[in-house]
Symmetry: C2
Subunit: 250 residues, 2 copies
């Protein structure tokens, strides 16, 4: 007997930003694997089973989910945002590659979602309106020197930069160091957008120039968008400004 | 009297990939501006008005939508995918910046959606599982030399690359040229994913090595994802392979 494994993204946190397709997959699943706070967002029936785990145990969680599916369960692996962007889909693929042959025969379906940078960008205007990139500042799995090299390369190439996992209690210095590197390439007036829990009651959202960005707080759930030299800020009376990157920048 | 302007993304085309929030905004709007085929995806009531236009008239469409909202209408501007990624949100911001002062007082709301690269990535596995970028190959609004420079910079930096607007009848040579540049930096075995209309009945989806990519067709609606040197392909019996970029690549 073979089950099914579906990987869903629940969006950035606003319940209205989950797709119908993800809601359908959640309703059709028996067992749910994910980081506790993401599972807490779901409304499950009494017959549906929660297997919550810590945020840092992605590979163990992936193996446990694949094992349950190979025993016949309809398994749902739950990510925040989009499961393919710094989230569970890559961990599941990695576990399949290095796992038993039977896992390659499993029915695995990945459903896309709204990733954090898109929600923060929409709140701000259109800062991702021209070429852009997404870089994780976590050096748990890659060397910091590589992250520095990438930041310099993309800023010099004129891409807008979305930073994921910018800072945590165990990694307090990466975000200020990233700002410092970017100030060597970009004007200090470059717009920076910091967004956390956008669209939720505890939203934190601010637009600041790169030269002042490090005086504003961020945490692991903040998405930081650094404009290019072409990114514009339109002031509006009584409202947040509109931040956008013109379509033809360069 | 002042209206409201909402910019929504309808996702990559699968109706299940629209968010609840976008559906709510569509139900609450009076007048709809957008490229005809995107408007065709909506189910509108008889009292709701369609203002379809050609795909290349983004700024004119933005101005018409802002004008209608400033006259009191509840206006909805409709993009495919996410409105902030190579779509209408930047055109609206550009029109506001260069338009009359009254447009800066308008209530403008942008709602995020699932952009094409996320849907194509989900169909393939997790090719965007580590640092990545999104680059438009259209040189209608930026010089081709800049696009070439960006392609080289991001490939050398080890980012996965999602190409938007890869080719059109008026621009047949950009995609083959992009492949040629990328072959100078990346191994010819680098996995390339071509996805079009993913999740729709007319889906086109294929995984090929970079060295053979130019023999496979693409059009304006195809999203092309070029892996990094670390991107992996897991073969599976009787199924499409899983393509993924390990979380710690570098």
């Amino acid at each position: 007997m073979t089950g099914k494994l579906t990987i869903v993204g629940t969006g950035p946190g606003n319940p209205g930003q989950v797709t119908q397709q993800a809601l359908g997959a959640i309703a059709a699943s028996d067992v749910f694997f994910g980081y506790g706070p993401y599972l807490d967002r779901l409304t499950l029936r009494p017959d549906q089973v929660r297997m919550a785990s810590d945020n840092r145990e992605e590979i163990d969680r992936a193996r446990a989910a694949l094992d349950a599916a190979s025993k016949g369960a309809a398994v749902c692996v739950v990510s925040g945002g989009d499961p393919g962007v710094f989230a569970m889909a890559a961990a599941i693929c990695e576990a399949v590659e290095h796992g038993p042959e039977t896992w390659r025969r499993l029915d695995i379906e990945i459903l896309p979602g709204v990733t954090a940078m898109l929600a923060v960008a929409a709140r701000a205007g259109a800062p991702l309106g021209h070429d852009f990139c997404a870089i994780s500042l976590s050096d748990n799995l890659k060397p910091w020197e590589l992250i520095e090299r990438r930041l310099r390369a993309v800023a010099e190439a004129g891409l807008v930069i979305a930073l994921y996992n910018p800072i945590s209690r165990a990694r307090p210095w990466q975000l200020p160091t990233a700002y410092k590197i970017l100030r060597e390439v970009l004007p200090v007036t470059t717009p920076v957008v910091l967004g956390r829990a956008v669209g939720r009651p505890d939203e934190h959202f601010i637009v600041v120039p790169l030269g002042e960005a490090e005086h504003h707080s961020a945490d692991m759930a903040t998405c930081v968008i650094i404009g290019s030299a072409d990114t514009r800020v339109i002031e509006r009376p009584g409202m947040d400004p509109l931040v956008y990157s013109p379509r033809g920048s360069g």
